[in-house]
Each structure stands twice: as C-alpha cells, then as structure tokens.
Point group: C2
Amino acid sequence: MYQNIREQIAAHRSIRQYLPDPVAEDTLREILEAGTCASNTGNMQVYSMVVTRDESLRKQLWEVHFRQNMVLQAPVLITFCADVHRFSRWCEARNTQPAYHNLLWFCNASTDAVLASQNVALAAESFGLGVCYLGTAVYNAGRIIDILQLPEGVIPVTAMVMGYPDEQPPLTGRLPAEAVIHAETYHEYSNEQLDCLYAGLEAGEQTKKLLEINKKETLAQVFVERRYTRKDNEAASESYLKAMQRQNFI
Amino acid sequence: MYQNIREQIAAHRSIRQYLPDPVAEDTLREILEAGTCASNTGNMQVYSMVVTRDESLRKQLWEVHFRQNMVLQAPVLITFCADVHRFSRWCEARNTQPAYHNLLWFCNASTDAVLASQNVALAAESFGLGVCYLGTAVYNAGRIIDILQLPEGVIPVTAMVMGYPDEQPPLTGRLPAEAVIHAETYHEYSNEQLDCLYAGLEAGEQTKKLLEINKKETLAQVFVERRYTRKDNEAASESYLKAMQRQNFI
C-alpha cells in the first residue's frame, strides 16, 4: 500500500510478463470507472474504451500489435479510442446537426481517450495489477478498426494490456526533470545542455548493451536507424492518415 | 487524505475559482516530477511542460484562453506540448538524421504530453491543490507558440491552471460507465440505448437551466448550436492544421 498517490505514480513501471490469472469482473469495472472520472472536453466524453478478453480476438490484435507476447499473455486488452460517433448519434436523435468530424475534435477526443487511459492505468496498479501501453495502436489503426468493428467517428489512440505481473522490472531511467520542464517560456537547449541532460541515459549499462547488439556508435542511432526509422515513421503516418480519413475525421 | 488512489480519482472536479496563495517551489517540483513518471513512447519522452507563473505572460495567455478568469486567478499555468524538437536536436548532435516530424510522431508526442498531464493533475490534487484543464490550448495554438516561444517540432496539446481552490463544486455528472465501455468489440448504440444513456444528463437541474438560458429544446442543441458550433469547429481545425504545418509536424 502506498502512503499517497505520488508514491504510486513514482513506482510505475511497464509490465511485459503476466500471470495467467484473470482480472475479476468487479475489479475491472472499478478500474474502468476510474477512467470515466478523468477530465474531458466539455463533459461530452468523446472517447470509448473497448475491453477485449476473448482469446481469439486477442490473437488477432496480437498480430496487429507487432506480435508482442504480452498481448497474448495478459488477460485484458483495452483499446482507447477517440469517439465522436456516440455524441453525434445523440445529437442527430435530438434534432440538431453535429459537426465534430474534423481535426479539432480528433484532437479533443484523443485527449479525452488518453486522460481516461492514465486513470485506468493508475487504478489498475492500485489493485496490484500491471499494465503496459501499446503505442502500436497507432501503427495499424486500420486493422484495429476492422477487428473491433469501430464505426466512423471512432479511431484507436492508444491501447493497454493489463494483468497480474509475472516480473518485477527495475524502474526505467528518465531524463532529469529539467529536460522536460520549461520555466515561463520554452528555453532552447545548447549542445552542452543536451550533453548534460542525456549523459545519464547514454552512460547506462543498458545503453552499452544496445550499442553492441545494434552495432552502433550512439544511442540516438539505435533509435533513429533501428527502432523508429524514417521509412517506418512515414509509412505509419500515411496509414494513420488513411484511418483518419476512413473514419471521417478529416 | 484518501484511502487509496481510486478514492482520489473519483473525487476529481475541475476548479475554476482560486485563492491567490502561491504554490511552493518544492511542491510544484514534486508535482511536475510525477508527470515525468508516466509511460511515454519508447522512453523517448517527446513532450515538454511549460510552467508559466509570470503575471504578464499569464495575462497574454489569458487572452488566448478565451479570457477565462481562472487563468489570471490561478498562480500556475502549465502548457503541455508534443515535443520532437529536443529529441531531434539530440539525434543531430549524435551523428544521425532523425525523422520525427510527421503525423505518427505528432500522435505519439501528443499522447506522451497528455499522459504526463494526468499524472500532474493527480499529484497536484494529492497536495490539496485544484486544477482545471484548458481545452482552449488547441484553439489558439499559433498564439501560444508565439507567447511561449515554442520552436519547430513543439506544439501545445493541452494546458492546465493550478492553485489552491476557492470553491468546492459538486461532482460533474457523467454518463453511466456503460456508455463508454464496450465489451470485446464496439457495440453500435440503438436509439433506445442512447435515450437511456443520456437520460440522467438530460433530466438534470443544470440542463433545465441551460435550455432556458439558451432558448433551446434539447441539451444537444446547446452543445451544437451554442457551445461548439460548426463554424467555430471548422475555424479551429484550420487554425490548428496551420500550427501543425508551421511547427513542421506535417
């Protein structure tokens, strides 16, 4: 049990190995309700949480999420979606013509979805569950739309696996907080400041291993030339744009 | 003091009236550090938090945030930005050519920014502080870019005022959780289901007042024809697209 919420927040680590134990129905319900308590745009709640536990569906989603083992292992997979569909349906049924299929409401609805997701993550962790976000939700949005049968006006923004942890990984190192905090206005970084801010990350034991495995000279090269390459970034951008068009957001 | 994090999450309400009391430096620091503990894309931390306390800067931002009083009243205003600039600068300084100025990384970086913001909100509330998100960050992104001197690769995603509350508003009613939770796949709503899900919201005392003030027949009309109109939505979408182009995200 944590003394306060900040202790729990500070103890967050992504869990990638799960026990087969299911998550009890009432526990899951309480976790999802925590999601609905987050702030949202104009109290319009333009997001949806699709909770997938069925094994055959999770297997299809595992393919989409780059076959990451944890998607099969964890008993729960939640896809957080920007959703102007429900709200628009309601408006149409109430004698008015909604206009939320545009970039502004893609942004608003995406923010709503992500705020809800972080409440869900923290509520899950407060029950001793582990979670791991799946950024891959954005890479193959079109296939997720098919599998989860998302109607127009609904698009995946992020996803999360959830279950009881079968590992206790160390905390992931972060940049010093100074790196992401700006006082009053944005302060441009000098090269010397960048050297300082990234020194800890670059000096880590993990980095040394990565450079060896990837045969690279710098950690930045591992990110740019191995993990998140121009080719993949551009292909995924194009594919997500198509999904936004298909779902009628732009 | 809350028994657990879920109690605190459930007690969340947006605060719009603030006392003039400042937020102590070490308290603010601890709150912002909670932001850095959130999950983020590939541990690349592609977001920034710009913390504005200076009165003349807040006055400029107050104009941008539709002159909402709380922006002047609350001692702290935080602008959460998608930021591929810092990471790209680091890559360039490490002998590799980054490719993160695209839609994929706009999405990833926006998610990072919003995840951090929700940790910040909850950490602030755990200190007895109040917060209110400012969705208006998206409406006038161009002017915020000017005021906060955001370089290319950095764009506002959301913002938040923070300070000690001078009000104790009731909880905001939400749709029943069923409205936003889908089991296994997305389930299309029948009109009867929509009637049920929105009945509580429509029957509220607050709604009765809104219909009178706005001279409308349905709550949906208040949203669509008064609060978030087609004209405003389309203008803001165009203006945010321009900001994305200017910051080199697309």
